[in-house]
Chain length 304, copies 4
């Protein structure tokens, strides 16, 4: 089967799952999105794109922004980044603050909130506006200059960020945050509120499948070895507490967000983004995980 | 032995212990105090006072303020206070945030930092300046109108309060804090920075040994039953993670602070305050705990 | 009010509470007991006894046996006992094994299961049959030579003791248990299966209210100071995770069991035992705690 | 570079690392092994073998046995296996019993001790001698009929298995272990005591790189999809608490043991085993991890 057939079949078979699960509603703006959306886009380094459903509808990328913020910080600090944040799976949800306490304020990895706040702190100490740096980077790697964060979503995030403030102050009490907490939290909230489409995100992630180079522009984002390492990190830590299960079922490095998006890459082959807002109990798009599982089954391609 | 003999003997015997342990130094102002101070004052409802050593030297009362802030809040809310904060021992130190996470943001008791922040939040929602209310209350129950907080200590506390901010934001994320976090933390830092002498503190605590009534003024602070209950709470939760050991060795309801002070009461008999700045591994005055153990041994009086 | 009036009124007022709560049923033998039982007995050092309801009906003393086993071990080892087990409240229920892991296999206190297994290990290394030593001790201090353990209950306990075995092997892996685990668990199960009445238990605990001496026989069980210290331990650790609440409401040193019994002492005054099988969420007798709260309220006597 | 060159270079470059780290000594038999051993063997589905150093010296496979026991149990139960054990990384070391307690006795994955005990329980309920079934399986997939467990090591393991007994009884208290604990622990100790060489282990793991089929015998051990899934599990859970770091540095599915062995596979390409007894702080062979990192760097092959 070619990608056209595969995506068409997934689009057809996924219908009974749409609306199952639960749309994130910790901020009102996310809760308003219909759970029946489904979009999927796949791009290859030679410039081809396949897409189905709502692949051109923008959604809130939320935690997927952590992947790109981490790329930026990794590019800036190199391996020194790992002095400030670990690269181990987090174990499980209840651990958020517990684990920070045991581990002296060093977050387990850059894809959990605590770790992403450290990454944002790194960016805040290098850029006047960290969120603008992330937006610029996304425009550059996706080729879409219209990408921006949603002001209303960002403001709503900021009003519901007390737990992130708690984590940031907690890490600051261990000397792990350099910049003022409120500045870091603001930048983080804005970065999470960036709106993009499946097509944007698949294109933006393509450098990860292409040895660190953006195919159409030729820009080298990362060297080949760091690119592989970032993929490794996505694999073990990219899908919250479900990472083991996700690797088992899907077998692709990926990063998900509570907006219902998931970005995945197959090194050397393609980048893919799927979006459906209703989440499973781990906070990953329920239909999205299933769609990716079918993709690797139907194509016979995974990293294993 | 009468109290004169007992305090004289304790004052003599305690010398080899002075300087053992470690003065709190998380803020520079506390670290400057000499570890060789030792003062002790005992007052009885009939107005007598016995004191030895540095009983008239002011020191930073720190967490002892939690006892009086809690008395104020308990007087305002009555048993409703226990909807906002528990009355169980906290288990152990590493639990601070861990326990808050398991218990949905409700602190175990009003004498740990998280619980004291909730108490301060209660006071902040009733008084324009919560710390001023605590200062006024202490002036009234001690009879010393010169009591105030130390501005430099309060400011230093505020600059080192990131962990308290973390806890306050964490509780706020569970909906447990009503007022702005920075206002609560400021009031809390000022309250901790109140300076008093052993004589002041023994007098201030005397209502707890006298059924809730301040003997010389006749003011009823609490009814007899709440007074007993507050003493019960001091017994199980008043000395950090050492409560079990303290009850075992001393057998008196007490509240300690990292400034090196400990206030204790023997219901119906007396209130006592001891001060020596060097702390044991649990954060209680090393010489102070020993002095109180000798007091109950020599007098033959404890609650058991 | 005298004790006759007080116990009569409690017996009357407690009726609406009988049957509320939940009878322990982790072994079938306990689950068979009617939740409507209520008995209470109070004894004073001068030999008087007051009792109401089912005060002469035997029940399974369960964890109350820990108090007497601990007394025996404390008598044997003195303060050295605290090298093997702590004397701090345990914090909360979920901590059983968690806390053992953090604290290198040393249980927090002798009144939680892990600590009681260490106490039984002490007795097993001194007596051929540790449970027989506890039975003999109870006969001696209660004056009832017919006291024994219930063979069927003991056997049922043994069949449901996997969690206790887990704890014992876990402590053994830290080098904290000397004797074979199965021997320790067997002795422990038998000790828990001892059957006694409220009158037996109140008499058996009277030495704790009488400075360590059994009044009618004149036998000194413990010196005065260890006696006070054991009472202190009962106060902070005797009622599971409810200790803080129990001290707050009742204000007496006490030890409870999942059979529905609670033994309490008022030093210098009396020992009391109450029994009603239905338990509150912490595993203490629901009616029993209320009866003791009324006793201290009506008599005006508590340790505070 | 071809494999001959790569292995020769690794063998040369690894020398300064030999003896660094710490040989496991929790049982005397393991502590006796020289830390200066180093062996490495790589096999491909077409039957070629490359090896250097002590690749033909037998060592104790320890936890590597979990990979093959799990393969056997997965073959028997299929996806039903995951009702009894999870497939998520365990977070971190201190969690062993903690996590079991939170998760109601269901271990996180089959490669931590608790999970391996469940796997052994599955095998014990199917085979008279579970350890013999594992030995037979290893003989079949490696082609070496002389493989067996070391009786002295097994007996020593059994004498130091109290923590495993604790975990097994703990899981049994949740109803998660069917067979008698002592039988499960015995079988588990023997399975860990199996002795094999690097060449044996690389051959034994080759079916995982070959779609589930043993190349020389044509025996299908697992279907292609379960084979990929087992590789996914090795990747996220195969190297203790270092899994994230290992994936980041090496990028191969692998399983390590405290005997100093590590087995890894590159799907479609080869299986490799490296052995050096001295361990890093996570319990993985210090030189072994480095050798595998160099292998993927020099060959340019990893799963990313």
């Amino acid at each position: 089967m070619d990608y056209t057939q595969i995506l068409t079949q997934i689009h057809h078979d996924i219908r009974p799952l749409l609306g199952k699960g639960r749309v994130a509603d910790y901020i009102p703006e996310l809760g308003k999105v219909s759970p029946h959306h489904f979009g999927m886009a796949l791009v290859t380094p030679d410039g081809q794109t396949w897409s189905v459903g709502d692949a051109a509808v923008p959604f809130s990328i939320q935690s997927i922004s952590k992947l790109f913020a981490c790329t930026l910080a990794f590019g800036l600090l190199g391996e020194d980044l790992w002095r400030r944040v670990g690269r181990e799976p987090s174990g499980n949800a209840f651990n958020s603050l517990v684990q920070l306490e045991y581990e002296q304020g060093v977050p387990r990895n850059p894809f959990i909130n605590a770790g992403a706040l450290v990454v944002t702190d790194v960016l805040c100490s290098r850029f006047v506006q960290a969120e603008a740096a992330v937006v610029q980077f996304l425009r550059r790697v996706s080729g879409n200059m219209a990408i921006d964060y949603d002001v209303a979503v960002a403001e709503s995030e900021r009003q519901h960020a007390d737990r992130n403030r708690a984590m940031a102050y907690f890490m600051k009490s261990f000397g792990r945050i350099d910049m003022p907490v409120e500045a870091v939290v603001n930048a983080y909230c804005r970065q999470c509120a960036i709106a993009m489409t499946c097509e944007d995100l698949a294109r933006a992630a393509l450098f990860l499948a292409n040895g660190g180079v953006v195919p159409w522009s030729g820009e080298r984002v990362l060297d080949p070895s760091p690119t592989k390492r970032l993929s490794a990190l996505m694999l073990t830590c990219g899908t919250y507490d479900e990472a083991g299960d996700f690797v088992y079922r899907v077998g692709l490095p990926a990063k998900s967000g509570v907006g219902g998006g998931i970005v995945a890459v197959l090194p050397g082959e393609c980048a893919v983004c799927v979006w459906s807002p209703a989440l499973d109990h781990s906070g990953n798009s329920l239909a999205g995980v299933q769609a990716l599982e079918w993709l690797t089954t139907l194509s016979g391609h995974s990293i294993f």
